[in-house]
C-alpha cells in the first residue's frame, strides 16, 4: 500500500512528463497549423481593422503593433501550458485513483490506472471533442466565447457522467448474465445513449468562416486530438509504472508447440 502523498507525488511527476511530451507533440504537429491560421487571422484583421494579436477582443488598439507576448514566447508558452496542464491532470488523476481504486473490479493496480485513464480520456477529451471540436486562431466569434466556454465545460462534465453511466450499466446488466459481451453491450449502450441525448440538447455551434481552408482546420483538429491522446496515454501508462513496486523481470521465452 502507498500513502496518498506517495501516489500524489507520482501523479504530479508523471503528469509533468506526460505534459512535456504532449507539448512536444503539439509543437511539431500543431505549431505550423497555428502559424498558418494566424496568418489568415492577420490578413482578415487588416481587412476589417480588427484586433490582430490573439483576437481575444479585449486588447487596446494601440497595442496592436506590439503584441504582449511574441510568437516565440507563445511557442515556449505551449510547453509551459502543456506541462502545467499535465501536472494539474496528474494531481487530479492521483486523487481519482486513490478514491476510486477499491471500486474498480480488478486486482491489478496497473489495469485500474489504465482503465481510469481510458475513462478520463473518453469523458474529458473525446466527448467534448466530437461536439465542440477545437478551433485554430481565426475561427470563432469573440462575442460568443463565454457561451462556448460554458458549453465546453458542460460537455466535459457530461462526458464523465456518461462514462460513469456506462460503468454502472455494465454492472447492472450482469444480473441478466455475467458474460463479457453482455457487460460491454450494456455499458456501451448507456454511454452512447447519454452522449447522444446530450449532443442533441446542447446548442449547435459552427463559427468556421466559409473562407477558412478545410484542410488546415482538419490538420489543426487532428493535432489537438493527438496532443491530448499523447497526454492521457502517457498519464495512464506512466502512473501504472510509477506505482508498481515490482522489479521488472523479463518473461521466460514461451515454448510454442509447433
Amino acid at each position: 500500500m502507498r500513502t496518498f502523498g506517495s501516489l500524489l507525488v507520482r501523479g504530479l511527476i508523471v503528469g509533468l512528463f506526460a505534459g512535456l511530451l504532449a507539448g512536444t507533440f503539439a509543437f511539431v504537429t500543431g505549431e505550423p497549423r497555428i502559424d498558418s491560421a494566424i496568418a489568415i487571422e492577420e490578413a482578415n484583421a487588416s481587412a476589417h481593422s480588427h484586433d490582430a494579436g490573439s483576437g481575444s477582443g479585449h486588447h487596446e488598439h494601440a497595442a496592436e503593433e506590439e503584441p504582449l507576448v511574441s510568437r516565440d514566447g507563445q511557442r515556449f508558452g505551449l510547453f509551459l501550458a502543456a506541462s502545467l496542464y499535465g501536472v494539474a491532470l496528474g494531481g487530479i488523476f492521483a486523487v481519482g485513483f486513490t478514491l476510486l481504486r477499491r471500486r474498480l473490479r480488478t486486482s491489478s493496480d496497473s489495469y485500474a490506472a489504465l482503465g481510469l485513464a481510458a475513462a478520463g480520456y473518453a469523458g474529458i477529451v473525446l466527448v467534448p471533442f466530437f461536439k465542440y471540436p477545437p478551433n485554430p486562431p481565426a475561427v470563432g466569434d469573440p462575442d460568443t466565447i463565454t457561451q462556448r466556454t460554458v458549453t465546453y465545460l458542460l460537455t466535459l462534465v457530461i462526458g464523465l457522467l456518461a462514462v460513469w453511466a456506462g460503468v454502472a450499466a455494465s454492472r447492472w446488466v450482469q444480473r441478466f448474465g455475467d458474460l463479457p459481451w453482455i457487460r460491454l453491450a450494456g455499458g456501451g449502450a448507456a454511454l452512447v445513449l447519454t452522449v447522444v441525448v446530450a449532443y442533441l440538447i446542447l446548442p449547435k455551434i459552427n463559427e468556421v468562416p466559409d473562407t477558412f481552408p478545410a484542410t488546415l482546420l482538419w490538420q489543426f483538429r487532428l493535432a489537438s486530438l493527438g496532443t491530448q491522446t499523447v497526454l492521457w496515454t502517457l498519464l495512464g501508462i506512466g502512473f501504472a509504472a510509477a506505482i508498481d513496486r515490482r522489479t521488472p523481470v523479463a518473461a521466460a521465452p514461451k515454448v510454442v508447440a509447433a
Partner: protein, 67 residues
C-alpha cells in the same frame, strides 16, 4: 456492491476524513492551475492578459475554446 478484490494487493490507503480533506485540497489546487492555463484573463493571476497570451498556443491545442 462490494468489489471482489483482495484489498491487500491494492496500492491505495483506506479512506479517512483526513485523506478526503487532502484529496479535496489537491483537486482544488489542480483545478486552479488548470484554470490559469485554460481560462485566466488576469482575474486570478493579476498579470493582465500576459498569462493568457503566453498560454495561447497551448490552450488552442489542448482543445479549450479560446477566441
Amino acid at each position: 456492491m462490494t468489489a471482489p478484490v483482495s484489498t491487500s494487493s491494492v496500492a491505495v490507503p483506506a479512506l479517512s476524513p483526513r485523506l478526503l480533506a487532502f484529496a479535496l485540497l489537491t483537486v482544488g489546487l489542480a483545478l486552479m492551475l488548470a484554470y490559469l492555463v485554460a481560462f485566466d484573463q488576469g482575474a486570478l493571476s493579476h498579470s493582465g492578459m500576459y498569462l493568457h497570451e503566453l498560454m495561447h498556443d497551448g490552450r488552442h491545442l489542448l482543445g479549450v475554446p479560446c477566441h
